[in-house]
Symmetry: C2
Subunit: 410 residues, 2 copies
Amino acid sequence: MVEQFLRKFQRRFYSLEEFADYISELLDGPVTIEDSNHRLLAYSTHKEHTDSARVSTIIGRRVPEKVINTLWKERIIPALHHQNEAMYIREIKEIGLGNRMAVSIKKSNEILGYIWVLEVNRSFGEREASLLQAAAAKAVTQLQQVHYLKKEQEKNSQELFWRLLTGEVMEEEGIQNDLQNWFSKMPQHFSVVVFETNEEMVEHVHKNIVYITNTSQKIKKLFYTTDRNMLIMLVEPVHNREEKSLRLFIKQCIQLLKERIGVNQVLAGSGELCSHFSEVKDSYEKALDVITINKQLLPDKEKFVFYHELGFYRYAKVLLEQKKRESYTEPVLELLKEYDHKNNTDLCKSLAVYLQHDANMKEASKKLHIHVNTLAYRMKRVEELTNIDIGNAHQKSSLLLEISLTELSD
Amino acid sequence: MVEQFLRKFQRRFYSLEEFADYISELLDGPVTIEDSNHRLLAYSTHKEHTDSARVSTIIGRRVPEKVINTLWKERIIPALHHQNEAMYIREIKEIGLGNRMAVSIKKSNEILGYIWVLEVNRSFGEREASLLQAAAAKAVTQLQQVHYLKKEQEKNSQELFWRLLTGEVMEEEGIQNDLQNWFSKMPQHFSVVVFETNEEMVEHVHKNIVYITNTSQKIKKLFYTTDRNMLIMLVEPVHNREEKSLRLFIKQCIQLLKERIGVNQVLAGSGELCSHFSEVKDSYEKALDVITINKQLLPDKEKFVFYHELGFYRYAKVLLEQKKRESYTEPVLELLKEYDHKNNTDLCKSLAVYLQHDANMKEASKKLHIHVNTLAYRMKRVEELTNIDIGNAHQKSSLLLEISLTELSD
DNA sequence: CAGCCGTTTGTGAAAATTCACAAATGACTG
DNA sequence: CAGTCATTTGTGAATTTTCACAAACGGCTG
């Protein structure tokens, strides 16, 4: 059936809008065409009512993040990626999505975009699915030039970005000009974000991060480039609570990579937010520092996002160097380790968790799955054995530092 | 009168004991002769009863520390130092000291020792004072050879000590032999203690420290030497609670220097306790490290005694280096400082004291002389302004570290 | 000068933490 | 195998800490 409909598309369209309207007429429903990042490319004018998801998409010139997330959760987008046929999608009330049909626009397995048609007048069936599939085939040629232009732009942008990253921006004048050409509105605050994956799957993971970034509405991607297994981006938070939205974006990014493509080994880090392009280099280096620490943390530890969150970890390198150099072992921990080994106890870990939970007996004991009094007893024991005063801020702080350092893999 | 009694001492004494007995007969009371460090040199045999202070001195072969301290507090020892005449001393019940007369044995202003005579049979008056003064004059020649021998010994001991300090002890065999000749009983545990004074008064201060050390019964001085404005000692704690007695000794030493000669600028530090002479070098270096930190601490801060007490301060050097290098300022503290300056508030100091007092509102507020609720309010304010979570162990620890580092003079 | 805002202090109730004590367990020992 | 010792858990009372609220203060501004 598809073959016969292909003929219907053997004509020329002078714009994507015209193409959208044509499909709309054929299928008798509102049509939306998006690029691979769910940015609006074209939409049909159609008299009939339209669902709220489509309205927001058109107003915002992109599919709302919530809608994209739901489509992923419902396995609709993955399904569109995997198949060439058009898909019928039942309404999803909570995101204002009515019944519709969708198809992905693919060229040799690469996603170029999507076509959506709402079901308003006629019930969609086999016939409409085939029609849409034919439309998608035609769309490939329509989109390719857009796609090509973007790739060209990207190349230029990456060159510019590297100049910022390496601090090769001495001729402030020139770069300012370049940048003014680049942005319609100069970004106010921005930060370098780096993602690092392990060697395999680099390309796949990077593609997905870029996709997530492009569809994220918490931040705006200004530049991006890659360096071996690292993806480096300059991003601008959209909201006023800048740090927060940036943190949210990074956390979500890692979360989505896990959910959507099952990749766990992605580390991320952000440099400090800055407002001058001369600071980009510094932000980049700080982002790398964050990643370095995250890499050394135990797997179950909450990872850092910003450099200023590192606290004493920002000294980790020189501290570990000194520790290695002087071969002095903190006597308290040494003694406890010995005692633990000899008596089959767990004082060391208990102390660590206790300190990591801010000397909060309740929380620490919960974490350790022991009774509060048990922990209290152990801490009293620790005090007796090591002769430390557990209510002394300096000692506590020093021990926590020492414990944190020994926990770092090196 | 003194001159006429001098003739009575124009004879030869074949031992200090004989000399003591001779004085005892002349004055009709028990006699004790001590060296400059209140170590027993000789005592008369005398039938009459003797006070408990004298008994303990003879049993322990030295004047008990408590007695010495009281004699200092009562300004008796300083008086003996300053005058050449014999002094009458009223009984001091709490240390078991009966009425007695004393004189210092001096050679050109250097104290060589003391002679004590108890008043038991006859009441002492002018005549006895003059007799005792004459005895002291004679004693000079008696003690000089003891004194000379000791100086000789010291020279050899200092050479040996420097070999230990510089780790030039590769030929373990040889040094072991030397040491075995040196000590009747090989010391079990020992530590290097270093005192540092500012440039003026070095000699005076060092003399006093050595005196205090020699009279201290908490520790035994094994070796000592000096290096510019530093006094370096190897000491052995006498009691089983070794660390404690060593700490006590050092604290007391500094205390006594303040009380007795009004010197405030003395810094001290101990290395770690060790039990092999090959560890002496390391102990020495650690003692120097402790002093370095103590020197950098704010004047009102409690000073450290042992290296293992330094906690994170042991990393101070590399941390300060990195801070200087990277010119990154902790944003939380930066923000607070700014706010304080603009609004004439005291959030920075409040946070510092709060953290230094282990997040204990009551203690911190007491220290700051403000109401508990005021501090609570300020801390809430800090949280709002800087967006930190004050109940987070890592943040607290990091901030305390950062604050402590900024407080170090560099 | 009234009024606002940020700050400080006081009060007392509510919530939490700490502490003492008892009992049970289990490993190790003479 | 009884007994000791270190450890764990439970209970409830004592103590401390936290929190909300009111009131007052002082600098600043319209």
